[in-house]
């Protein structure tokens, strides 16, 4: 296979990981919202935790993006 083509394919495959991060972040905020609607009084205090969780989940997606960028530009 052409190495250049392999590089692009690899970058594309690496970006699938971002979809997982999207699912994760969606889960976090979805569950936060359903919890917040059940108990709105406690929601405000937990919003920070939701953000931390979202950031942690998103970070993993960003890893795959960085891998893709590395493949595209640096490798």
């Amino acid at each position: 296979m052409d190495p250049l083509a392999a590089k692009y394919i690899g970058a594309g495959i690496a970006c699938i990981g971002m979809g997982g991060a999207g699912i994760g972040v969606g889960h976090i905020f979805g569950n936060f919202l359903s919890g917040a609607l059940r108990n709105p009084a406690a929601a405000g205090a937990q919003f920070t935790n939701a953000l931390i969780g979202a950031a942690l989940a998103e970070g993993l997606g960003i890893f795959s993006l960085v891998i893709a960028l590395l493949l595209l530009f640096a490798a």
Binding site: T48, L51, A55, E58, G59, L60, I62, F63, L65
Partner: protein, 252 residues
Amino acid sequence: MAQGIDPIHQFQLHDLAGPWNIAGHEISFTNSALFMGIAVGLITVILLAAAARGALVPGRLQSVGEMWYEFVHNMVQNVLGHEGKAFFPLVFTIFSFVLFANMLGMFPYFFTVTSHVVVTASLAVFVVALVVVVGIAKHGLGWFKLFVPSGVPLVILPFISLIEVISFLSRPVSLGLRLFGNMLAGHIVLKVFAGFVVLLGSMGLGGIIGSIAPLGMAVALTALEFLVAFLQAFVFAILTCVYLNDALHTHH
């Protein structure tokens, strides 16, 4: 190729003064350094101006300064408790620096300091190294119990410890790359959509009409990027607090 369409060009560093060298390493004053300086200057000027009058009933600028101060103060207070007081200036500095670097990057033709992995990784490594130093200074070697959770059967303890160590070591990586990746990806996407507008706009009437959609998208993405710029600064600061919390209280 027109540089307006190349989404990578915006991350280019230029020497503004130099080239200077220290011990064989190039330390020229680049546009990155310039915008770091601008961020530092803006933060200092705004805060000093806000605190200058010290009015009992705050004006607009003073309100901004106080909100800013109290926002970070509450964050440190909530996560670190009373012992976190010593770290408040540090967290404030990190939050303000990252926030202003991100926000400055949102201006057209401005350089985004935090879109370079060295900067964010340096900050992240600094934070995690500080966690280690503070933890050992405060708890001695007992701090390493952080990696040995209590109440775990002896058989699987090595594995758990290994996982804890790996998760700890991945902190600087994730902390730095998250900020870097968010800023980089956001700016690339913005540039790509803006590039569509330019490209379509040069294709005559049909192209101009067709470019309305990517233009709207670029506007929406700009709003999103402002949110991301703030959120990532907040996340960076609060994760700094959370990690410092491990150094202060070994609650495992």
